[in-house]
């Protein structure tokens, strides 16, 4: 009788153990899931803070708020392995200027390439694309290596372009480019924008150094065959 009692007790303990074990395992999954969601949320917040607020604060410093719908600021990062620039954040109060047909930019075209080569580039000599569209296309082709079809696809046909190359934390190599543009050719002078970027040189470098490790990079996917 006592043996049956002991066996029954052991069986119950055994069932209890399995239940506890299962519950613990399920509990671990739930905890992991919660941890993952929090981790994910933290990354989203970091990205949000840096990408949106920082670009917006630069835009405010440049006085975008006064006539916001004519201007845009964009950050591009260079993917060395694939030899292309990728846009990673863009700010404009005009929603028509936020999207593009492409998010991949050649290192041999446009004002991104000019800053990449010389550190700083400014041009407000673009013809009026509304009144002199052919001249605008020709100017962009000649100086910036864009075909007429590519110019046609540009959602924002700016008349002022200013680009600044952002260096790595050692201050040696370029890692990214920031471009300010406007449909108003006289919105800012070359000196104004040059001073603006010189004053923020270190902050821009820190910004990129912080955000660069968590930015998606095509080479990370291609290294894994994806």
């Amino acid at each position: 009788m006592s043996i049956i009692f002991v066996l029954a007790s052991l069986a119950m303990i055994g069932i209890g153990f399995v239940d506890t074990f299962m519950a613990k395992t399920y509990g671990e999954v739930v905890t992991n899931n919660l941890k993952l969601r929090n981790e994910n949320q933290a990354i989203v917040e970091v990205l949000g803070k840096f990408r949106k607020h920082y670009a917006r604060s630069l835009a405010q410093d440049l006085g975008f708020d006064l006539d916001a719908s004519h201007h845009r600021i964009t950050f591009y990062v260079f993917d060395e392995k694939n030899n292309y620039f990728y846009r990673f954040h863009r700010h404009s109060s005009n929603p028509n200027y936020l999207g593009t047909t492409n998010n991949q930019y050649s290192p041999t075209q446009g004002c991104i390439c000019k800053a990449w080569e010389s550190g700083f580039h400014f041009d407000n000599q673009f013809p009026d694309p509304v009144k002199r569209y052919a001249a605008y296309c020709e100017y962009t082709r000649k100086l910036y290596n864009y075909t007429h079809d590519e110019v046609q696809q540009l959602k924002m046909k700016s008349r002022l372009y200013c680009s600044w190359a952002i260096k790595d934390t050692d201050g040696i190599g370029n890692v990214a480019v920031v471009v300010v543009e406007s449909t108003e050719p006289n919105k800012w002078s070359e000196q104004e924008l040059h001073d603006f970027f010189v004053q923020r040189r270190e902050a821009l470098r820190q910004y990129i150094a912080t955000i660069h490790p968590i930015l998606p990079k095509l080479s990370d996917a291609s290294n894994l065959g994806l």
């Binding site: 395992t25 993952l36 994806l226």
Partner: protein, 166 residues
């Protein structure tokens, strides 16, 4: 197999191969792995495994279907309990149903091995680093088959440019 059955099979294979962590019971994680499987399949075989329509979401790829409905533990059985001093976990086994094609199943299995050590944030970053995600903006549709053709073309162009300049 119907569209739902294909998705169910893929989810089952993912859960079956999620040996240690149980992360795939997290819908966010599952979604990213299904996306990566579809993308990998397009790169290798010019077609995605599932019929899911993907789009560029706020923080990663978004499916047009709620994948949490496909997490069905009752379809999986405990095949083997694996224990060591600090960890106990189960190896799950999916029911013997209509299987995916061998090469499709292999894609998912190999992906699970590659991603097994990565935290969710890294897996998201990886998904966002794929060609369709990195070349589009929020809310854009991701037609993976078309993107895989474009990717191969642009990759070839970049390689040629590198050889030319290098």
């Amino acid at each position: 197999m119907s569209n739902r059955e294909i998705i169910q099979e893929v989810v089952d294979v993912i859960l079956e191969n999620d040996v240690a962590t149980g992360y795939c019971h997290n819908e966010d994680y599952l979604k990213v792995i299904v996306y990566l499987s579809d993308w990998k399949s397009c790169l290798e075989f010019q077609k995605p495994i599932t019929p899911i329509r993907w789009k560029h979401g706020e923080i990663g790829p978004e499916a047009d279907i709620d994948l949490s409905n496909f997490i069905r533990p009752e379809r999986l059985s405990i095949k083997q309990k694996i224990s060591d001093l600090w960890n106990n976990f189960f190896k799950l086994s999916k029911a013997k149903t209509q299987r995916l094609k061998i090469n499709e199943e292999k894609i998912v299995e190999e992906l699970m091995v590659k991603l097994s050590e990565m935290p969710l944030s890294e897996v998201y970053r990886l998904a966002n680093s794929t060609f369709p995600m990195i070349t589009t903006s929020t809310d854009d549709k991701l037609k993976l088959r078309e993107f895989s053709n474009r990717y191969k073309h642009s990759h070839l162009k970049a390689t040629l440019s590198f050889v030319e300049h290098g």
